[in-house]
Amino acid sequence: MTITERQEQLLKDLSLFQDWTERYEYVIGLGRKLTEMPQASKTEDRLIEGCQSQVWLEAYCEDGGVYYRADSDSQITKGMIALFIHFLDGESPENILTADFAFIEKTGLKEHLAPTRANALNLMALQMKQRALDFAGATD
């Protein structure tokens, strides 16, 4: 599946939920299933300082695909990161750089998020692309 296909799948999944509680629970669940980030990886330079919660993000490149590991002290934030990772993991730097995150608007998740939190999300998306850009640079 391409990134776009995976995004469409998510939108279909979310549309099944009746209310915001179920959506939140789904997202929190995604966070729970995220591969654990080793404590040693949670270093200062991998920290994205949000408004109230902390996010650690690390990326590595394998066989031309970019892989992410992340964690947060907030479960909701972690769930949102998991969503992003779900779309991007293993994709080429080029695909990641051109990925359109605007679909997040359509999930109806963002409207349930405080703007400060939404900003944190935008920041995170930007950081993920930044890492991909680093690898793209390295392979050029």
Binding site: W20, T21, Y24, E25, I28, Q52, S53, D73, S74, Q75, I76, T77, H112, L113, A114, R117
Partner: protein
């Protein structure tokens, strides 16, 4: 309780009539800012529709009417605080502005010298911390912090020890009357007394006290006292600094400009009498008048009635939350205004987000008290804070929402 008709009180707050996220609105963020009763909003509007004019300097009718209204507001506030004289009431833009005024003029007065000590408590809001850090930086004085007990109250043994250790050097003691984070009421009477005996000036941050307690300047005997209008049912942008007359007369002015002068010439400018000496520029005229109206509103309900009602609500909320597994309630059991808590394994931000989705406004985070959060090893808490209009239904909805949120996050 029986005499306090909370549903009547609710009915005069227009904002409570509206829904949030499609649910009736539960506002439990009163410690951050209060909601405004109709009477206060009407006074503001009436001011602009009938009286508005710049004050003190005008001969014309409206200028005189507006001046009268502004100065009557000052009188009413002086009476409410039982100040010895109306000149002791200085209008500021808020509690933070008032604390900065005092810390700045103490700095400019030259009274604070290298090696002197300024003491605050670990419970202080950033607004009663950072100005003193800045004054220390500028003057070479040292900041000392009175620690708190595990219960979130002042460690009085440590305070005694601090007084001893800083003997002869303690110049300022700056304390909050009620902790905005934990609701702790500080034992001000003996502390002010000790500080005075040590030769220090005492500055009290009444931001959280004025909405809940009847405060009496002559009885309290603090040298300076500040609060914000917006936390006591008045608009944003207005606050009060009370100061003892002799001290205010002795200290230099802070802001320069219109109003605070007697005569300006390039050879030398002389300053106006109290209270104007500390009020430069066009004041927040409407804000002052609305603040007086807000205090009248509160007096109309009866501060004693309001606070016993609020205390009852806060006790019920505390007891409802206690039943949740892993809950920690901060502060002593006789807290006033605010109830802070955390739930093991759950981020306060997550729980706050979910609770908000259920139509309940609580605050999450450090409540501008990072050093206090650090003391308790947390990055923040959830805080439900109460006002005159909160009722049992609010308490029940809070408890349900927290339970449901915890369920989702566990």
């Amino acid at each position: 309780m029986s005499s306090y008709d909370v549903s009547a009180v609710r009915s005069v707050f227009p904002i409570l009539k509206h829904e949030v996220h499609g649910k009736p609105f539960v506002y439990l963020d009163n410690a951050a800012t209060s909601q405004k009763p109709e009477a206060v909003l009407d006074v503001s509007r009436h001011y602009y529709e009938r009286l508005n004019s710049n004050i003190h300097r005008g001969t014309h009718y409206l200028a005189q009417e507006a001046t009268l209204a502004h100065e009557n507001a000052r009188k009413l506030i002086a009476r409410h605080l039982n100040a010895s004289s109306v000149e002791e009431i200085i209008f500021t833009s808020g509690a933070t502005d008032g604390i900065n005024l005092i810390s700045s003029i103490l700095g400019y007065s030259g009274k604070i010298k290298p090696g002197d000590v300024i003491a605050i408590s670990n419970l202080e809001h950033h607004s009663n911390t950072v100005p003193w850090q800045m004054l220390c930086e500028r003057s070479g004085a040292e900041l000392e912090v009175i620690p708190v007990t595990e219960e979130g109250t002042i460690d009085s043994t440590a305070f005694d020890h601090l007084l001893e250790k800083t003997s002869g050097r303690l110049k300022v003691l700056a304390l909050t009357q009620i902790s905005n984070a934990f609701g702790t009421i500080l034992p001000l009477a003996p502390m002010i007394d000790s500080a005075h005996r040590a030769g220090a000036l005492v500055v009290i941050d009444g931001a959280q006290a004025v909405p809940h307690l009847s405060v009496d300047m002559q009885d309290l005997d603090a040298d300076f006292y500040v609060f914000s209008g917006h936390k006591v049912y008045a608009p944003t942008g207005i606050g009060v600094l009370y100061g003892k007359r002799a001290l205010l007369e002795d200290l230099p002015p802070w802001r320069g400009g219109g109003e605070m002068i007697r005569k300006v010439s390039y050879e030398g400018t002389t300053f106006n009498d109290l209270p104007y000496k500390f009020e430069a520029g066009t004041p927040n005229i409407e804000g002052a008048i609305a603040l007086a109206a807000a205090l009248e509103f509160l007096n109309g309900l009866g501060l004693q009635n309001v606070s016993s009602h609020e205390d009852e609500m806060i006790r019920r909320a505390a007891s409802a939350l206690t039943s949740i597994r892993g809950v920690t309630l901060y502060g002593p059991s006789d807290r006033s205004g605010s109830l802070s808590f955390n739930i093991e394994g759950i981020h306060h931000y997550d729980l706050g987000t979910l609770v908000d989705k259920m139509g309940i406004a609580v605050r999450t985070g450090h409540h501008c008290c990072q050093p206090l959060m650090a003391r308790f090893g947390v990055t923040g808490t959830l805080r439900a804070s109460f006002g005159c209009f909160n009722n049992e239904d609010d308490v029940n909805r809070l408890a349900e929402a927290v339970e449901k949120g915890v369920e989702m996050l566990r």
